[in-house]
Symmetry: C4
Subunit: 200 residues, 4 copies
């Protein structure tokens, strides 16, 4: 199957999800205190918004890079891609829950960290499973040896270790999950390494 | 008419609808009980979310497969496609109604099952009508005999039987509609059969 | 300028607007009467939803047909296109206002008719102005004589007469605006006429 | 990297953001006064809606023009593009806050002006930084001399001066920010100048 529409549909879902994140930013017009007071109360929403925006942004950049390596898709890859997108679309909800409870601390904050962690861990695993599929099932434009493929999977599959670790840190002190996720997003944006070495 | 923009517009509507499903996931920040209590109360929203996500996902995969068989569209097909998309866009609403009332049982739950059933039955019939149109009105890149075409319509038109049956089951015991729809989605994702045999 | 991204952006806006229409469909989970009672109370939302869905659907089909006639865009056309899209994006709001007040009658219903009319009249005028621009400013792939161009403008500009007339009817009896708009949408979908005659 | 998906993703985000602006338009069905009274009370929402619609429209037109000059993207440009899109997606929120508080005057209105200004100033700087990147890092299809490139940056970077100035005016009298932003949008739409001179 042609990969064009899978890219277009994924771009659409990612674009809608990244924009819906901003629906959690809002203030009340009257009877809820001054605007600056409300902004002061809801600042975790702004921090969580920026972090999640770049989390989805990084997913998009890597999705883009992943699909540029293949020339066709199969049904299994489409299904794995849907699972990835499903976790992405939960992010506006889990970001909002995290922003609501992060300050409060206690068990509410830890449950919110867990929800947010699940969105992110789900994305990391789905992405790694997709990379494994394209490397090992003949979808690559320029096939690679199993060794090269497995190296790429280990390197890009790092998220499957980092994101659970970030979630565990957040269970200790909730803000750590945002700091760790934000740091990972900056690392992925700055890192120039290609998923696979260019064909010689 | 060129099929490219019909695909792009459909991808857009499907991508927005699948992402809006997640708007039904939410928790209240304060004064509505603990987060884990709220999650415990709203778990049907999560189940319904996952099922509807894959219902739309399957529609997208099949839409993709259907349009890959044709090289142009006519006005009637565009109109039928709009009807399909109209039923798809009602799904966030009917999914939300189902999640709200499914536990409660009684006549509210049955009405919610009926609403959810209508969204799905409408999609199944619209899709079958579109397949019939492209097979019988010369829109195929590789025309097939009427026999081959009718076989494909019978096989892909199965949804027009399965979805009403799933709705009927749900009227007996509401959760059955989600189980049946989820099962049908998994079947369609796993099933490798092409809509039409590849041209020799 | 290349027309591809103007099409992609317009498809995106139209797809989001047509899907957001469904946000006006909703029921309350508890304490607002039975589901069937709520559906009985909000039926105008469903009728208005279907009519507006096809109003946007027709705009999309005609937008598609219009852009298939040109091979490039200029800044003025992009600006006119933005004005068209601005009126389209108001439709979820004006549809919702119409559905809320149409039953009530009186001056509220008439104001709602007027709002809904403005969305539609704005679209009709914007579309006609765009057609005029492409015919008279050398954007056509196959240029036509001024006579042929003006004929097309008169025929497709009919909406600039029909939509104000539908609004006027709605001021007399509000449901007439939905009946008239729905009728116009069906007419445009069924009507096979091309915007311009095919080049010989 | 290929620029096609960066355009598609950006078109998606811009299309969703421009359409979500309209979510701030709404009236209450009952018990909140007559429709015309409510429209009279919420008119700043309509003015702010139109201004922000064209602010995003202009960003889209210029984004389109910018990407037509390049034939590939690099990771830094994708990151800068994400920052641009992040500011764009805050605009529905900051537009809504401005519309809610602009009439009230006082410190609430000034804080709302500041929020709205930050969205716009962020977009102006991001856009200018992107233009600088493509001119100075070899992404142009037709490379230009540093002088020609710097001229273009100065001319299109005007927003980095105009938008802070508009914000400052709004701090004196809030409506001035909408008047200035609306004026800037009209200027950019009307202005035919290309970003870079056409290659000879």
């Amino acid at each position: 199957m042609d990969k064009g529409r899978a890219e277009a549909f994924s771009d659409g879902v990612l674009a809608v999800a990244i924009t819906l994140l901003a629906l959690d930013l809002h203030v009340e017009a009257t009877g809820h205190g001054s605007l600056v007071h409300q902004l002061g109360q809801t600042w975790p929403s702004f921090v969580a918004y920026v972090v999640s925006f770049f989390v989805i942004g990084v997913i998009w950049v890597n999705h883009h890079a992943l699909f540029s390596l293949i020339n066709r898709v199969d049904r299994v890859l489409l299904f794995e891609n849907l699972v990835l997108l499903m976790f992405v679309t939960t992010l506006p909800f889990t970001t909002s829950a995290l922003a609501d409870f992060i300050i409060e601390g206690g068990s509410n904050a830890r449950w919110a960290v867990l929800l947010y962690g699940i969105s992110n861990i789900g994305m990391a695993f789905s992405f790694t499973i997709m990379l494994s599929r394209i490397v090992h099932h003949g979808l690559l434009v320029h096939p690679v040896t199993p060794e090269v493929g497995n190296q790429a999977i280990r390197r890009f599959g790092l998220g499957t270790v980092i994101y659970p670790a970030a979630t565990a840190l957040g269970l200790l002190w909730p803000p750590l999950i945002l700091i760790a996720m934000g740091g990972a997003a900056i690392y992925y944006m700055a890192e120039q390494t290609q998923i696979l070495p260019s064909p010689a």
